[in-house]
Symmetry: C2
Subunit: 501 residues, 2 copies
Amino acid sequence: MSADVSSIDPRTGEVVEVVAQETASVSEICEAARTAAAPLEALGRETRAALLEALASALEDSRPRIVEVADRETGLGETRLNGELTRTCYQLRLFASVLTDGGYLEAAIDHAGETAMGPRPDLRRMLVPIGPVAVFGASNFPLAFSVPGGDTASAIAAGCPVVLKAHPSHPATSQLCFEVLTEAARKAGAPEGTFGIVYGQRAGADLVAHPAIRAVGFTGSQGGARALLAIIEQRADPIPFFGELSSLNPVVVTPAAAADRAARIGSEFAASFTLGAGQFCTKPGLAFVPSGPDGDALVAAARAAVAEAEPLVMLNEGIAASYARGTAALGKVLETSSAGSGAASAGFRGNPTLLTTTAADLPPEATEECFGPVAVIARYADEADLFAALGKLPNSLTATIQRAPGETDLPAELTRFLRPLTGRIIYDAYPTGVAVSWAQHHGGPWPATNTQHTSVGATAIRRFLRPVTWQNAPSDLLPPELLDDHNSIPRRVDGRFQPQP
Amino acid sequence: MSADVSSIDPRTGEVVEVVAQETASVSEICEAARTAAAPLEALGRETRAALLEALASALEDSRPRIVEVADRETGLGETRLNGELTRTCYQLRLFASVLTDGGYLEAAIDHAGETAMGPRPDLRRMLVPIGPVAVFGASNFPLAFSVPGGDTASAIAAGCPVVLKAHPSHPATSQLCFEVLTEAARKAGAPEGTFGIVYGQRAGADLVAHPAIRAVGFTGSQGGARALLAIIEQRADPIPFFGELSSLNPVVVTPAAAADRAARIGSEFAASFTLGAGQFCTKPGLAFVPSGPDGDALVAAARAAVAEAEPLVMLNEGIAASYARGTAALGKVLETSSAGSGAASAGFRGNPTLLTTTAADLPPEATEECFGPVAVIARYADEADLFAALGKLPNSLTATIQRAPGETDLPAELTRFLRPLTGRIIYDAYPTGVAVSWAQHHGGPWPATNTQHTSVGATAIRRFLRPVTWQNAPSDLLPPELLDDHNSIPRRVDGRFQPQP
């Protein structure tokens, strides 16, 4: 199978490279992944940790080339892309430490014995790799949520081969990163088939339908997710789908916070929603600001920051067009408070836009995500007004509360109200910027995600694992982590947690 | 809303009671559950543990009445039902200990600090209740997988109100258990709406569609699961569905095991597949037995055991009819080796049936679950023959390996081959009997279940929880378990596991 894909510079709209992939068929790639599954698991945790370190080092070694290629077809700029590559390598190395730690296995041993419901056999449980995983790259993070991103890192850490669906918005970056990963994996002793890559919508659909694929990691739109879920539903054996879909990311500024630092919040909010041309899943799309002079000052600061902005390069033609449609639709029902002042030049660009309305009149359009550098400020008269409007919000990845120093009553009430709607609650900061760590959660009720798992942070590995219990197993048939005398990982033995020594 | 449901004695086929429920509408019941969610969580772990203990005690107090009513409409017999009630209470108390332990919260704290990818804010993560859960009772366990069963226990433990869909096969037992639970919950200080119950297929569909319901626990057929999944897919916000669906539960007897104890395995296998009239999700439906004299002796012992059996009372008319159809279909493509000898009397009964075939000629019918006291023995000539046939198996909850003492080579190869197909591997024992413990896993790839979670054992609670991360939160807005000085539960702090003191 041969596929030619155009790499387009969004700054100019010109094709800068035709990426020619001479690839195997989707079926051949999936079968190679199936074949790789057992030997990849058999490498063991320590060797897979070394593999992840090797992948990170190989990406670092190719840093100048990766950043150059990614910049040319995403327009994200070298600073951002260098930071994203650093994040990507950090993420790979975090999962190496997750493997070394071993707590992610959730190992548990219940020795045989008598119980109140009768004799219990010897039972030993731990998590094992789910099998080959399909990973759909996202447009907006060509590195950290794409070929070498968090889904890939967590799946490889879990011991699962990965078949990537390259995002059409950055095919050259995808191909380059795939080559770097494949070569590094080979040198590190990983089996052939550990990585595969496919291009195009049809190949993506075939991938999700293929019997060898045992789970899907997806970052994209609700529509895309529903289409893939429909394919999964048609399978003889529907498989788990981990989608990260859409998020409004509301911000609430309390009256006390506005009184404390109106101008600062206004400019910080503008910086947050225009960062990366607003193309983050955590972009704050709607802020509730009190009416009155403090809120006016906040809005004025945000307006001023937006008015100074230039039209921003967006990732591709489709996103730029969708942004133009979205802001036009918002402009019909809301007041356009401020917009960037520069003249639109070549390529795919979006003008930063701030709109205002009142909480009492909050239209449905203002509660839907609009991808790009646009946000709505809704002014509220009092707490009743505020909470009535919050009741109209969809679920989100994040919710942000700006409070005054020491303020507790209203922030507590807001926390109670917003927690059911979100997976991360942020105080006195902004939702853009998602640290990769043990305690991170990047998820939430639909449409934020469709499961109770995270796609960022150490526990993202749980998506690509499933439990197995061995009953009455002879010790020579058990995984080493479940032997009585194994003591390098945290385990639960006869109901009690035992940390690593 | 008023509904009349017939309670039918399967021993006679007669209606023994008309259960009249004067109930609220599905919508009213779901809204009550929604209202109960916050106060149920606010009880805290210790009070919810006491609530679970109180539920167990109340069921124990009503033991004679519950067993009598359940026996009358299930025909399972007092011994089994007393055992099932003991299991049910044990299960409730296990989840009380899970709450006290607190490890299920997966609490993690990452303090603010510098990292290789820049400064990290203070992040604190733990699991919180997902919200009201719909629980569909199963026909075959009127207590342990029904109104007071494992889904209910784990959801209440998690802090989620439960709306039960009563199984039509045991409405009187469902209603009685619901009343016992509701009364005990009230006395223990749980909010109104902690438990709700609905009857009938239409009400079940409405329940799954209701916006207040945040997750579904289901034990039943693949068809039923697909129908409910289709309803979920139509929701504005599709919710998690935890289904336990169908399982063949293959058994492999190695040549050495047959040489070691042919007669014993034959009679034990017959006892396992006819236990409870074969109406267990873990019933072993297909055994691979070597050809030759040892295998012949095994089959002879199984045949003899089956030939002595009488027709067994089945749970309801539909299951008995489906069983008759299933065994008739199997009889057309396989040799009926032995069948129970008693005359079929009144009510809904199924005759124990053993069929035989060869691994080389294994027909597709022999690899599908047939609910009831029927099993197939497939004789294999050699290992090539055996593994070729194992390649035709669907996924299952369990896989069983009977080996000779000390035998390792073939059992190891079988373990490698069978593990991707199952969630529990059993050695030298039988899959019926599922201990409730920390290391248990009752799940597997589709069609065993549709997720990577268990419906039996301590970790079943994970289904009804979702993560939340608090970023940069003032201490007075954090849950107590995430405060720095909290030290009663295991937590991960700055990446290191810290056990409870």
